[in-house]
Amino acid sequence: MLHQILFFIFASVAVAAAINLLLQKHPINSALSLIVVMGALAVLYLLLGAEFVAAVQLIVYAGAIMVLFVFVIMLLNAGLEERTPGSAVATLIGVPGVAALVGLCVFVFARTRIRGAAGYSIGDFHVSTQDIGRLLFRDYLLPFEVTSVLVLIGIMGAVVLAKREDAGPTDRSPEITAEAPRPESQQPAERTHA
């Protein structure tokens, strides 16, 4: 009973915040709604006995990734969303399409029955961090090492992409220096002409 009450409370919080993400015009409001969704999902992970995943969800997702988003929104000084003719067409086609997709998914998943499983109660299954560590560093060691390479490439890609052009010698800097004196040489010619 407690499980059902907690599930419905936090499921409705997650869905309401996700709808709010769609309705808000300003990206910072959408980002804060997404943090609420992630917090509600962390509680649902705790209900499912996955305490490590719940903690990582809060630390990595709601902490690190969303800080990155909010930081970029503030850095770019993102304003209200602009409406364009394309957005009217997207609304016209997108809303019925997504409604149909929700209906189909809910219809399929609501009828899902898994053999020999009646349902899940709190405490039926508990994933300790020790078990996760043992599985991750023994059976899934190769995928774990591959993700470390992925993260390394991600760091390098982010640094290369976000680096300013004038930070070092690039192809464009000689052009700028070559083009810069040209207006000065033209201006005296115009003055003499005038």
């Binding site: 770019l76 809303v95 992925l150 982010a158």
Partner: protein
């Protein structure tokens, strides 16, 4: 006691809301956040199946999805910064050419 189908339905609703955000929003940062919402919805179904089937692997896969999402967010936001520097806009309708 909550059947696993409830968790799957919630996951499906969140995923479809993410799809809706991806299709309807015009701001490139909000579109990116919709992708994160879809990844979160998939994570929820991983954890729900993990609890229902008493299999630990679901939790491990959530971990990998989070690593990929973190790397994707870092690179994607760097690309967004670069797009904003060259175009001075975040509206995806105005970013429809690879060439300036």
């Amino acid at each position: 006691m909550v059947p696993i189908s409830y968790y799957l339905v919630l996951s499906a609703i969140l995923f479809c809301l993410g799809v809706a955000g991806f299709l309807l929003k015009r701001n490139i940062i909000t579109i990116f956040m919709s992708i994160e919402l879809m990844l979160n919805a998939v994570n929820l179904s991983f954890v729900a199946f993990s609890a229902e089937l008493h299999a630990l692997s679901g939790n491990i896969f959530v971990f990998f999805v989070m690593v990929v999402a973190a790397a994707e967010a870092a690179v994607g936001l760097a690309i967004i910064i670069e797009v904003f520097r060259t175009r001075d806009t975040l509206n995806v309708d105005k970013v429809n050419l690879l060439k300036l």
